[in-house]
């Protein structure tokens, strides 16, 4: 059993906007690129050019279709990575102490040296956010780019997770949820940011912003306010134009 810290100094995490995510997978590949080159073992790919190619990814985008009675169906894109939970069951289940939650910022990490690849943490995570790397035999997960966000070799504006820096549709935000005035806290409050599966009592740090209502435009009958005909019975160009010019 591994203990969680009683309290973390900060609560770093992501706000993911389901209203603007177009499902382009930019975050998925940027994450793969940064994290295969950086923290710990590379993110390997089995049969990369064969049948059933299977690689390790720390972030994946799923798409769900929602049917609503009497309305048009909708499609949502749902990027999913570790939510850096306050009560992270993946940490407490770890038999070696390899999984831990950082006191200073709340990031949940795996110390690969101590990881025996038993997979208990992946089993304990209700979100399916951990993947065992087939080549290295160690558990891989989102590090919130801990090697970017404090990295003095990067310009200050780039000290954000790779997925946030790359997202073309501005659907990902990074910040400190322990500060109520941070951008992530504010945007989450204003847009009703929600916890994923709160019934699991994991207290995820990452928040999701719900999609705004869609297909709300009301059908308009012939006498729409902005479509009042210029002439009651249009009789060709001259009648139309005379009346139109009268109104100018």
């Amino acid at each position: 059993m591994t203990m969680l810290p009683k309290k973390t100094e900060r609560k770093l995490g992501l706000v993911i906007d389901l209203d603007t995510c177009v499902g382009c997978h930019a975050c998925v590949i940027s994450c793969k690129g940064w994290n295969t080159e950086n923290y710990g073992a590379p993110l390997s790919d089995e049969r990369p050019y064969g049948a059933d190619p299977t690689g390790t990814f720390l972030n994946r985008v799923h798409s769900y279709e929602v049917k609503i009675d009497g309305k048009e169906s909708q499609l949502f894109h749902f990027p999913k990575s570790c939510l850096h939970c306050e009560d992270a069951p993946c940490v407490t289940v770890c038999p070696t102490g390899a999984s831990y939650k950082r006191v200073e910022d709340g990031i949940v990490l795996v110390n690969e040296k101590d990881c025996i690849g038993c997979g208990l943490c992946a089993w304990a995570c209700p979100y399916g956010a951990r993947e065992l790397d087939a080549a290295e035999g160690v558990m891989k997960k989102c590090t919130l780019c801990v090697d970017r966000i404090y990295n003095e070799n990067l310009p200050e504006e780039d000290r954000v997770p790779a997925c946030v820096r790359t997202c073309p549709s501005g659907a990902r935000h990074f910040g400190d949820f322990s500060d109520p005035e941070s951008q992530v806290s504010k945007i989450s409050r204003e847009r009703n940011g929600f916890d994923l599966m709160p019934e699991q009592a994991t207290k995820p740090v990452n928040k999701y912003l719900p999609p705004r209502p869609k297909d709300t435009m009301k059908e308009v009958d012939v006498l729409a306010p902005f479509l009042a005909p210029v002439a009651d019975e249009p009789e060709g160009f001259m009648a139309w134009l005379d009346k139109k010019l009268d109104k100018l």
């Binding site: 591994t2 969680l4 810290p5 209203d19 603007t20 995510c21 177009v22 499902g23 382009c24 997978h25 930019a26 998925v28 590949i29 940027s30 690129g33 295969t36 080159e37 073992a41 590379p42 390997s44 790919d45 089995e46 049969r47 990369p48 050019y49 064969g50 190619p53 299977t54 990814f57 279709e65 048009e72 169906s73 499609l75 390899a98 831990y100 006191v103 990490l109 290295e136 090697d147 966000i149 404090y150 990295n151 504006e157 790359t166 073309p168 549709s169 501005g170 659907a171 869609k214 709300t216 059908e219 308009v220 729409a224 902005f226 479509l227 005909p229 160009f237 134009l241 010019l245 100018l248």
Partner: protein, 934 residues
């Protein structure tokens, strides 16, 4: 226990960052390539770059897997087995160039038209076209004919620019944005950035698309339109706003040809002796050329001459569109959109355009000398691409959309749609087609251009087509991008003539870039009575082991995009912004580890060997050592070269002498050049003298070129007149009716042609493809990371059709068109027009290609709709085989396809006719753990 490990949170990121331009799609974002020990360690977006402003899509970040792809060709190849077998031997560059020269020199000396040189997803068309022009063949084009030429030409003829990458919505000011027929396309990242800006500001986004994915999925409103009816929907919007008088009369009077007088007898525009269109001045009632200082053109002007009353374009347009046939009620059933919804959208457009007007306090002077103190914006904007253009009615539909924008006064204004330099540019200052062949000499001018009537057609003196693709002929008079999709078929049939050598670059013509793939393979491999190939020689350049490689006789292996020089030129397909002019370069941020050369550098050498005038010095030696040498030193006309930045002493922009340090300066500047349009000159560009004078200074025009937006497109009327029997140049009899009915000078809608040739009762469904955002055509399939996202492409079937055909998830269906059938896996989708099926574009691969295992899902489950689409429409008993293309531009009508589905017990594809190709590069490794740093 707790284990707070001590971490190095500041690891070294890279040894060096090299900034260049992405080529994972046509978007051309700036990228920062991080290198460790000379190898690519990480790729991210360049924050300073005008296109992507730091962001980067999945394809861009996956570039690292393109550069290490096992499918990369390694050395020049000479075919040693039969075509299609994939049997090659590696040869030296010297031998390869000797073979190429041996094939090409006699052609040039005797009959240059025997060479057909077509390039695919080429971003160097101003260079490759110069080479082809110097060679002297009339048979050159890039891939626009099967891509989106309807969009490009309709835009350029109508507003002097188009959607695509030539303009953009005013993302910062628009309040309602309607996007038609776009999955992923040009521009990819700018659209995503723009949509997020609209979301931040709460602007309304309306998506018109039979399929609700991607951009359409996040839109506020989804219009699940019936494919091929976008034109009807747009014209209904026009009818409704016109009936209500919600149009911008002042804008129409000043900036469009609405007030120009039409000859009541001929339908041609009235012009003065200098050829300038005539209008009636509202104040004086006198007739004047449109650009006369001080006049205000009268939309209701009339001119009586010789007993004939000539009225305005506007008069005809209003008469046409007020007709009840265009009303929301009439088109509701065929478009699948309720009349109330059409009116709701028309009402919203009217409200935003005229009640939520923007006024910017810019002083500017128009081309008639009138001074203005403000700029009025109509904050409604549109974007559209392939979904509306890849139909046989695509040209008229694209034009209809531009006419709607013009009537709302929303082009080149704040909040509307804005063009990017070098656009706007009137169609009349583009070149016309050139096709005069003289053995041993260059062609008489640029191949491609804009025709303005029958006199400009590319016909030989006997009336037969001058070009192998029959571009600029009566079958498709305004085919400004050529018809690459007809080249192989025409060459095979010797119609209009036989050729000797096909020379392709970056075009997968034996697979996803051809209609009727099986038929094309037969044409490429068929032999004559003497056992010789019907298409005698094929030279191909590609960086990768694509399907097309196996069908060529000689392969010139290209580099990857990180190993080469390129220029993203204003002479070609620019990357400018509405507020700024920009261009860019690529440079070899890594060196190739194979015996490959940039194709353009190879053309420099071939041009030297063949003694093409632009490619040799006065003493006959090769002029450009490589493409970089050409980019810096080529002079298109005095002061103008491929790159606009850092000219002269390194500080001139636009015009300036050759600067030997130009490439270095681009590299120092992050790989691009950008310069803002002066404040106040950046709106109303076609009529704003501030812009016009700036554009002359920058070398975009030689003198100011103000022009009118073309609601009425006179060249179309000229073709109609010919079809009516007027003039010396006459169309063939069988085309008269079609020319008269389709080439209407004010946009119309007609049903897609496939519906006339096949029985809609037998083939009740529409079939479409979409580009995935994380994949660009076939290139993505070889990418170890991207293929894990899109390794298969099920046929998406609507819930209604699933029920009707008793289908469940995991079933396979037989998918048939009038042309053929294939067996494919399906998936249910509910957010889909119920009479439409669709799949992702170009995921399917042929066994043995792209260094993939033969049992990879791309080959066992991935499929192409191309097998169901023919370059010719089914016979309809009139003795002719009609092209499956737009009758005006020749654009391949991919999206006219009609199909049926039948449940089948077969659970696999029938691929017996596609044998395994022997891979010239072997296959990729079984495991990958990519980390270049220690």
């Amino acid at each position: 226990m707790t284990n707070q490990t001590c971490l190095n949170t500041s690891p070294k990121v890279s040894d060096e960052i090299r900034k260049t331009t992405c080529y994972m799609c046509a978007c051309r974002c700036g990228i920062d390539v991080h290198l460790k020990e000379g190898k690519v360690a990480y790729i991210e977006g360049n924050r300073d770059h005008p296109v992507n402003k730091g962001v980067l899509c999945a394809k861009g970040s996956a570039g690292i897997m393109q550069v290490n792809a096992p499918s990369r060709l390694r050395a020049p190849l000479k075919r040693v087995g039969p075509r299609g077998s994939g049997k090659f031997e590696e040869i030296s560059w010297e031998e390869a160039l000797e073979i190429a020269e041996g094939l090409l020199r006699p052609i040039r000396d005797q009959n240059p038209e025997k060479l057909a040189f077509f390039t695919g997803r080429d971003q160097s068309q101003s260079f490759t076209s110069l080479w082809a022009q110097d060679f002297g063949t009339p048979n050159y084009a890039a891939h626009g004919g099967f891509c989106s030429v309807n969009m490009a030409t309709a835009g350029i003829y109508t507003i002097g620019g188009s959607f695509w990458e030539f303009g953009q919505p005013d993302w910062e000011n628009t309040k309602i944005f309607i996007i038609f027929g776009v999955a992923e396309d040009h521009d990819s990242n700018p659209i995503k950035i723009g949509l997020s800006r609209l979301k931040e500001r709460g602007s309304k986004i309306i998506a018109v698309n039979p399929i609700r994915t991607g951009y359409n999925a996040i839109a506020d409103e989804w219009i699940a339109i019936t494919p091929g009816t976008d034109g009807q929907f747009i014209l209904a919007l026009i009818h409704e706003i016109l009936k209500a008088g919600k149009i911008d009369l002042d804008y129409l009077s000043r900036y469009t040809n609405a007030p120009v007088l039409l000859n009541a007898e001929t339908g041609l525009l009235l012009r003065d002796k200098d050829g300038k269109e005539l209008v009636v001045d509202k104040e004086s009632g006198d007739l004047h050329p449109f650009d006369r200082k001080g006049i205000y053109p009268d939309l209701a002007g009339e001119h009586l001459e010789s007993g004939m009353l000539h009225r305005t374009v506007f008069h005809s347009l209003v008469d046409q569109y007020l007709s009840p046939e265009f009303s929301a009620d009439v088109v509701s059933e065929s478009t699948g959109i309720s009349a109330g919804k059409i009116r709701a959208i028309a009402s919203e457009l009217a409200k935003v355009a005229f009640e939520e007007t923007i006024e910017l306090p810019h002083s500017w002077t128009d081309f008639r000398g009138e001074e203005h103190t403000k700029i009025i914006g109509r904050p409604v904007s549109f974007h559209a691409m392939r979904g509306i253009s890849a139909h046989s009615n695509g040209f008229q539909t694209c034009r209809a959309l531009h006419v709607l924008q013009i009537l709302l006064g929303s082009v080149e204004v704040p909040g509307g749609f804005r063009l990017k330099p070098p656009y706007p540019k009137p169609s009349t200052i583009h070149p016309k087609p050139h096709f005069k062949v003289s053995p041993g000499s260059p062609l008489d001018g640029p191949h491609l251009g804009f025709v303005h009537g029958p006199d400009d057609l590319a016909l030989k003196s006997d009336g037969t087509p001058a070009r192998i693709d029959k571009a600029f002929t009566w079958e498709n008079p305004m085919s400004a991008h050529g018809l690459m999709h007809m080249v192989i078929s025409n060459a095979y049939h010797g119609d209009p003539y036989k050729i000797d050598t096909l020379f392709f670059y970056m075009a997968n013509m034996s697979w996803n870039s051809s209609m009727n793939t099986r038929g094309v393979l037969k044409m490429l491999t068929d032999v004559d009575r003497n056992g010789k190939y019907v298409i005698p020689n094929i030279i191909y350049s590609d960086a990768y082991s694509s399907e097309m490689v196996a069908y060529a006789d000689l392969i010139l292996p290209d580099t990857t995009y990180l190993e080469r020089y390129d220029c993203i030129s204003l002479l070609d397909r620019p990357i400018s912004e509405a507020d700024a002019i920009a261009d860019a370069i690529r440079w070899p941020v890594i060196k190739p580890d194979r015996d490959v050369r940039g194709f353009q550098s190879v053309l420099c050498e071939l041009g030297g060997r063949l003694e093409l005038p632009n490619f040799i010095n006065e003493d006959g030696t090769q002029r450009y050592t490589d493409y970089a040498d050409y980019i810096v030193n080529h002079v298109r006309k005095p002061g103008i070269g491929p790159l606009a930045g850092f000219r002269g002493t390194g500080t001139s922009a636009g015009r300036g002498d050759v600067n030997p340090r130009q490439m270095d300066q681009y590299i120092e500047n992050g790989g691009f050049f950008v310069e803002k349009i002066p404040f106040g000159a950046n709106y109303y560009k076609p009529w704003n003298m501030g812009y016009q004078e700036w554009a002359v200074k920058m070398g975009l025009y030689d003198s100011p070129k103000p022009y009118l937006f073309q609601l009425y497109l006179e060249p179309l009327r000229k073709f109609q007149r010919a079809a009516e029997g007027y003039g010396d140049r006459q169309p063939p009899e069988h085309l008269r009716k079609r020319i008269k009915s389709t080439m209407a000078p004010i946009p119309i809608w007609y049903p897609p042609f496939e519906g006339e040739h096949v029985d809609p009762a037998e083939y009740p469904l529409h079939a479409l493809t979409q580009r995935p955002m994380a994949m660009y055509h076939s290139w993505g399939g070889q990418n170890a990371w991207l293929r894990q996202i899109h390794g298969t492409n099920p046929l998406y079937v609507s819930s209604t059709q699933m029920k009707k055909h008793d289908l469940v998830q995991g079933d396979w269906v037989k998918l048939s068109s009038a042309h053929g059938s294939i067996v494919v896996p399906i998936a249910e989708m509910s957010a889909l027009n119920e009479d439409t099926v669709w799949t992702w574009n170009a995921i399917g691969k042929r066994k043995g290609t792209w260094a993939l295992d033969v049992d990879s899902p791309e080959t066992t489950k991935g499929f192409l709709l191309n097998h169901l689409i023919s370059e010719l429409l089914p016979q309809k008993g009139d003795g002719y085989r009609w092209m499956n293309s737009d009758p005006i531009t020749g654009q391949a009508a991919w999206f006219d396809l009609r199909v049926k589905i039948e449940k089948t017990e077969l659970q696999k594809m029938d691929d017996t006719s596609f044998e395994i190709i022997e891979s010239p590069v072997g296959k990729g490794p079984d495991n990958l753990s990519w980390k270049v740093g220690k």
